[in-house]
């Protein structure tokens, strides 16, 4: 006869399982900006155990059309498999919608070091059609920058240039 673990022990082991699964999934790099992880960006929402003991990873897309979404789901699956979890499911959640506020301060730091200006802290006024945001150059720190294009190399970035050091750079769009 199998020994039924007491509730407390069961709870503790579930927690450590979840923590291990979180660590594995959280380390997955963003395929388009590999210096940050999906946890840094706030794409990884949660890791849970369902009734059947299946690990359920919840991820959220940054932009509706982000082509990396499918790839990220695949990478999370693989990372969890590699960490020894066999029974795994990845779910996509839309609500609450991802915003740039989900990016951790660690993530913002890494973005800046990589040469991508992180999104401005407070959301730029959505309704002010021409409300310009102050974007600081990730290279020299100057606030004298101008937007070259609203859209950049990926859906989440805009193209800027610094008027002080003359370097072009990507800006992670505030959203």
């Amino acid at each position: 006869m199998t020994r039924i673990p007491d509730k407390h022990a069961q709870h503790a082991s579930q927690q450590s399982l979840q923590q291990a699964a979180w660590a594995a999934a959280a380390a997955v790099p963003d395929p388009e900006i590999p210096v940050v992880t999906i946890a840094d960006l706030g794409i990884l929402r949660s890791i849970a155990l369902d009734e059947e003991g299946c690990i359920v990873a919840q991820v959220t897309p940054t932009y509706s059309g982000c082509p990396a979404t499918n790839l990220i789901q695949q990478m999370v699956l693989e990372a969890l498999h590699e960490a020894g979890f066999e029974n795994v499911r990845v779910e996509s959640v839309l609500s609450p919608a991802w915003t740039t506020d989900w990016i951790s301060s660690e993530g913002r730091k890494k973005l800046r070091q990589f040469g991508i200006a992180p999104p401005t802290e407070t959301s730029n006024s959505k309704r002010a059609l021409f409300g310009e945001t102050l974007v600081t150059c990730p290279h020299c720190g100057s606030g004298e920058t101008e937007r070259v294009s609203e859209f950049g190399s990926t859906p989440c970035k805009a193209l800027y240039r610094c008027l002080a050091c003359r370097e072009p750079f990507d800006y992670f769009k505030c959203h």
Partner: protein
Amino acid sequence: MSGTCETIMASNQTLFSYVLRLADDHLILSQRLGEWCGEAPTLEEDLALANIALDLIGQARALYAYAGQVEGKGRNEDQLAFMRYERDYQNLLITEQPNGDFAHTIVRQFFISAYMDPFWRRMESSKDEMLAAIAAKASKEVTYHLRHTSEWVIRLGDGTRESHERMVEALDDLMMFTGELFEMDAVAQEMLQSGVGVDASDLKAEWQHTVQTILQEATLELPKAGHMQTGGRTGRHSEHLGHILSELQYMQRSFPGLTW
């Protein structure tokens, strides 16, 4: 999506139709914008139009997937996007109009973005959880589309004589497709009454205000509303849709069930 069960049971067919037409709007417009890829006037604009198209495709995918779920007949997003006939598409006529010159593309996108912006914002408070969630993402994306096209409208309208004239022509050509944006047919009415849909007719004032504010700055005028074209919601399309579909559906018709 357990939260939407009640809605689904109440008016399954109507909800399916409502979600599907929204998906069609986004798919067809996205396909049109995609035609610019590699041909836009500047590299930055090439990226911008492709990026807007990508946002629209993302929104369309979420909507088609949901429509398939609501229908409950096992059709997935690909089958809904690629395996229907022309008369089954319910997109607004403006979305299928040809790209024309750059002015036409910009005016078309500007008209639609100025409409979708308040549309999605209101949809965020839909009783249908899934539509509200899709709206929460889409409303942020469309803000960028509106801002981008507004800047172009001003630059071209208040630009050279040539660019100004082309903008006037584009406004004249596309004005007749704007009436359809605000129509409320039986499907839209039922969805509005059940707290799921948006009152499109109520968006007209805001649309006009947005459009006129920008046009004024662009030294342009909104043409007088004359005869308005209609029919997209009932599958009566302009001759352009068939050509779009022949390209869009080519792979799925040649290799049915093909996946990545």
